[in-house]
Subunit: 251 residues, 2 copies
């Protein structure tokens, strides 16, 4: 499994990803799921992936090849993030289709899903979620984050905290707590955790953190969050019980 | 969708359920998913349901009929909770199979899943999760709760709080917070929320609360929990950024 997410706030974009990959429970390995492409001052593109690893790697390899070969469409040729999402979508659909039937016959899925985000020149910084079929969605004023993979455990904290005015650093910390909650509830999501903050209009990637399992800050966050949740819970007003109306059907 | 859960702690058992049912997004209705059967001083049985409503109702109707007709196996004849789980499983499998093919042809599933818990005489109080196929699992020393339906959003808080020594009232409050987190993230889970606490060896159901959407305690818990989570989050130590190693591939 996988858990990746991206958040848009007024100050910029946040990306976060775990690094656990598995093909069956007895084949677990570590692969980073955050890929950065860019050129300082010109464009910055971040890709997060979930789903079939072979499809993911094929898409990323093709993106690099297209750029090296200066293909008609490539990362450097895209005029805005929407065009880039369209491009990632077409590669994703093509690579998924290439092995899809054979993989399905073996009882697996060749589907991959991506979050692609960043900024190209003066065009707006944006986030897109790209489906295996190649279509894609972006965020809205009400929906400030996109998630792929094991999205549910980590969603409540995002729902509660993320606002347009949330600072980039707060959004990054919220993303970390969201990934930590997910790791706690699903063993197929695991460290290292990568977090990246992109300051809107900077066209530079200068805020990054990779947190390994034994990172002292990660350990401190886990401990502090657990303690604070327990404390917050202990401070809730107690519930008064009522009586259940008379039991029916006594023999 | 549905979200129901049950918790076992040293002091007793907690049951909680939402009340929203839907067949497509344009057919949403309210049905309680908590059903109590029992006889004070002899046995107390609580059933929570998720999945196909027709199958659920057929199982419950059959349970009532079997008891009224004093069938060879019925709620009053079961010698312990394991035997009762076996009985609910056999009814569930039979009712699911009865309409399963026709329902599947229409693109739906006739599957239902139950949590059944309680205590019979001097036998231990227990919880079981009964699958559509009729098989079932119980809790363990490490796994103190069972969930059916939309289980993921509300799991992190249970993972953090529930211990064997958690009091029955704390466990009930934790169940309420778990259901509230789920309602916030999934609109197909909704009030009223029913909560029931069973004191081990009491053979009585004396702690019950039904919280409608406008219940002042429910509103207060939602507000207080949201505020405390935001406050706990604000108190977390800030993350220091590192620099992303030099960007590859600038055109």
């Amino acid at each position: 499994m996988t858990y990746c997410l991206a958040i848009t706030v007024d100050e910029g974009l946040v990306f976060a990803s775990d690094s656990r990959t598995h093909a069956g429970v007895d084949q677990v390995s570590t692969y980073g799921k955050m890929h950065t492409f860019g050129c300082d001052g010109d464009r910055q593109v971040v890709l997060l992936n979930a789903g079939n690893l072979a499809t993911t790697q094929a898409v990323i390899t093709q993106m690099r090849r297209d750029r090296d070969e200066k293909a008609a469409m490539n990362i450097d040729a895209a005029r805005d993030m929407g065009e880039l999402a369209e491009y990632v979508g077409s590669l994703n659909r093509a690579q998924g289709a290439k092995h899809g039937r054979a993989v399905a016959r073996a009882g697996f899925s060749a589907d991959a899903t991506f979050i692609v985000g960043g900024q190209i020149g003066q065009e707006p910084a944006q986030l897109f979620l790209v489906y295996p079929q190649g279509n894609f969605i972006t965020t809205s004023g009400h929906t400030r984050f996109l998630q792929i993979g094991e999205a549910k455990y980590g969603k409540p904290i995002l729902d509660r905290i993320i606002q347009p005015s949330t600072s980039l650093d707060e959004a990054a910390l919220c993303a970390l707590v969201s990934v930590d909650s997910t790791m706690r509830s699903n063993v197929t999501v695991g460290p290292p955790i990568e977090i990246l903050g992109y300051v809107r209009d900077s066209l530079r990637l200068e805020r990054y953190r990779c947190l390994k399992e034994d990172d002292s800050y990660l350990i401190e966050i886990k401990r502090a969050w657990n303690e604070k949740i327990a404390q917050a819970f202990a401070e809730l007003p107690t519930m008064e019980w009522a009586s259940l109306s008379s039991q029916a059907g006594c023999a």
